[in-house]
Symmetry: C2
Subunit: 371 residues, 2 copies
């Protein structure tokens, strides 16, 4: 799809840029971050709260929705957008990563992958065709190909096999595709081997995808290794394609990856850490359980204008957290998502103004300076 991504402003100093993704349910500015809504809900918050926090694009998951409540049920109820009352774009992960990380058993053949559900141990088989059918039933704005995600550390031989199978499945995914209005991205594998990353990228680039993702990172390797793999892939993928780094990451990871040319991100960190009592702020991370906040009448971040910071003190949030009151998971989630959205806003604005390097310097200074 030549019109699926438009570059707005390219930096002269590096591969970073701003752009617009044109998707079935609307446009998304890049670099962008997608909060994770695994089970057709971004945990603890409502669709309205996501919009209020500035979210325009979320991620959901073919593996999880296939198992529960079932993609056919969702299709029959009007598709995922209607089911969860979200009218902006959704990207769905294919399940390759979940079969790797969650299933109690997986057996991969050329044909596909047989696995046991993490919920009840029942046996299931995913083929590339099946996973496209699931995502078309859901009506995802961006579908991801079934891939073979390898861990870390792992034998080189397994990574080679994973690259080979991922390419084979990518071809079959493109052939299986029926709903042309939905975008389809290929996933570059190759573990922590530069040559295999190049090979995977080059093989997938022969196929007609709307965008490319870097998969199989953030599986236990250091940030240095992750960034090396990104640096290996970026020069190979033509700049006309959006580049998506799957499952990453911390604010620092995102800033570094944008610097190296990545356009799209998703991660459970802002939502999961919120439920564990951790707030991201521009002045570093904050654990609301900390006794220092017992009588602290200031908001989580004194310079934040989110719903939570406009209304509630650290002392109140700490009280709710210590009392395990449901409201606190929501309030911290709203704040963390708002923080990530503001981070992406600042990144985009600084790129537009050619001040990304200044932004990056200030970002690190502030994050090290707790308030």
């Amino acid at each position: 799809m030549p019109d699926s991504f438009k570059i707005l402003h390219s930096s002269k100093d590096g591969p970073y840029r701003t752009g617009i993704l044109n998707l079935f349910h609307g446009q998304v500015k890049t670099p962008c971050f997608m909060p994770v809504g695994t089970l057709a809900t971004v945990k603890a918050v409502s669709p309205d709260e996501l919009k209020e926090a500035g979210v325009g694009f979320i991620l959901s998951n073919a593996y999880h929705l296939y198992l529960r409540p079932g993609h056919e049920l969702i299709r029959d109820l009007g598709g995922l957008h209607s089911f969860m009352n979200w009218d902006r774009p959704i990207l769905t992960d294919s399940g390759g990563f979940q079969v790797y990380s969650l299933a109690s058993m997986r057996k991969i053949t050329e044909d596909g992958v047989v696995f046991q559900s993490h919920l009840d141990g029942s046996y299931h088989k995913f083929t590339p065709e099946k996973v496209i059918a699931i995502q078309e039933a859901l009506g995802s704005d961006v579908m991801m190909c079934l891939d073979w995600c390898t861990g870390y550390p792992v034998e080189r031989q397994e990574v080679e096999k994973a690259v080979e199978i991922t390419t084979l499945w990518a071809k079959r995914s493109i052939e299986a595709r029926e709903r042309r209005e939905l975008r389809l991205f290929g996933i570059i594998q190759g573990g922590m081997h530069k040559d295999l990353r190049r090979r995977s990228a080059n093989e997938l680039l022969c196929l007609d995808f709307d965008g490319y993702a870097i998969g199989g990172l953030s599986v236990g390797e250091s940030q240095d290794i992750m960034l090396e793999m990104i640096e290996e892939v970026v020069p190979i993928v033509p700049r006309s394609y959006p580049l998506y780094l799957m499952g990453v990451g911390t604010p620092e990871d995102i800033v570094e990856a944008v610097h190296r040319g990545v356009d799209m991100f998703d991660c459970v960190l802002p939502t999961r850490n919120a439920r564990n009592g951790m707030a991201f702020t521009r002045f570093g991370n904050l654990n609301i359980k900390n006794a220092a906040f017992e009588r602290d009448s200031s908001p989580l971040d004194p310079e934040c204008s989110c719903y939570t910071c406009s209304r509630f003190s650290r002392a109140y949030l700490r009280h709710l957290y210590k009392s395990r009151e449901l409201l606190v998971y929501r309030l911290l989630t709203i704040h963390n998502i708002f923080y990530y959205m503001e981070l992406m806003n600042s990144i985009r604005q600084s790129i537009e103004k050619d001040t990304f390097m200044d932004f990056k310097k200030r970002f690190y200074e502030q994050r090290a300076n707790k308030k």
Copy 2:
């Protein structure tokens, strides 16, 4: 306080009426229902959502807030309203009922009650004076006297003692009171004995309270017995006082108690049942876990205009509940609170129009007619 309650419309056919409570943080129309916000939060919902559902008055709890996070901490942070970001009236229960129902030990003397915290087993003593001081520190619009709440069944001798002590403590509560802008209600005890209910009411009526509550009901007795106790008390309490039935109840309980002259209610049912997957609707109660709702695209109540019913299907709510997703506790709580607020609206409107008996007939017909 002669201006604390104004009757708007009295029925010619019974002791039921509409009225206005004038409280420090605003006016409240009666008959009214207060959702329960035990720990400075109505579980699973935000203050904004309470307002959107039409809530003008909530209940919180001196016992719980004294133990956690502490009434002095709340006072130092500006009082309970500021702490929880709620600017409408709050009534706080004194803790008499919680000491009875939650504390792992309680020893009552004329002076007060010694009990062990249900949280950590630590020893504490409540006197009438202490409980007034706690509630004045919180800044409750309506404070409740410390009372001795008896269970059911129980020896008559204990109930007699409870009535005697409750009156003694009521006198001391009035003397201890310092913040005149906050209302103070006495609590009528007397178990399931008509003569003791009359005695308790008459003794408390000699004291200068702003309103009267019926305590010690909804502790295991049948609805018939509860209604008999209400019928015993109502003719004794001058009609110029607001009458509050504590901890009650189902929609049916409320309709019957209003009919008999009660003006105020609180209960955990709409919020607690929501968290257990139960929705109140005008067409009866509904268990969202029910397999019948798996593919049901209709809202919880087809005639409800609440936030939840305007946006989400039974199928989606069931999916969230089965997946234990946090959003569902909120969505069901919003619906149930809205249902209770609409019930009170309908009750007030029918009283104003002198059609309460018609309302009551239709209420029972609809509740028996599932949709």
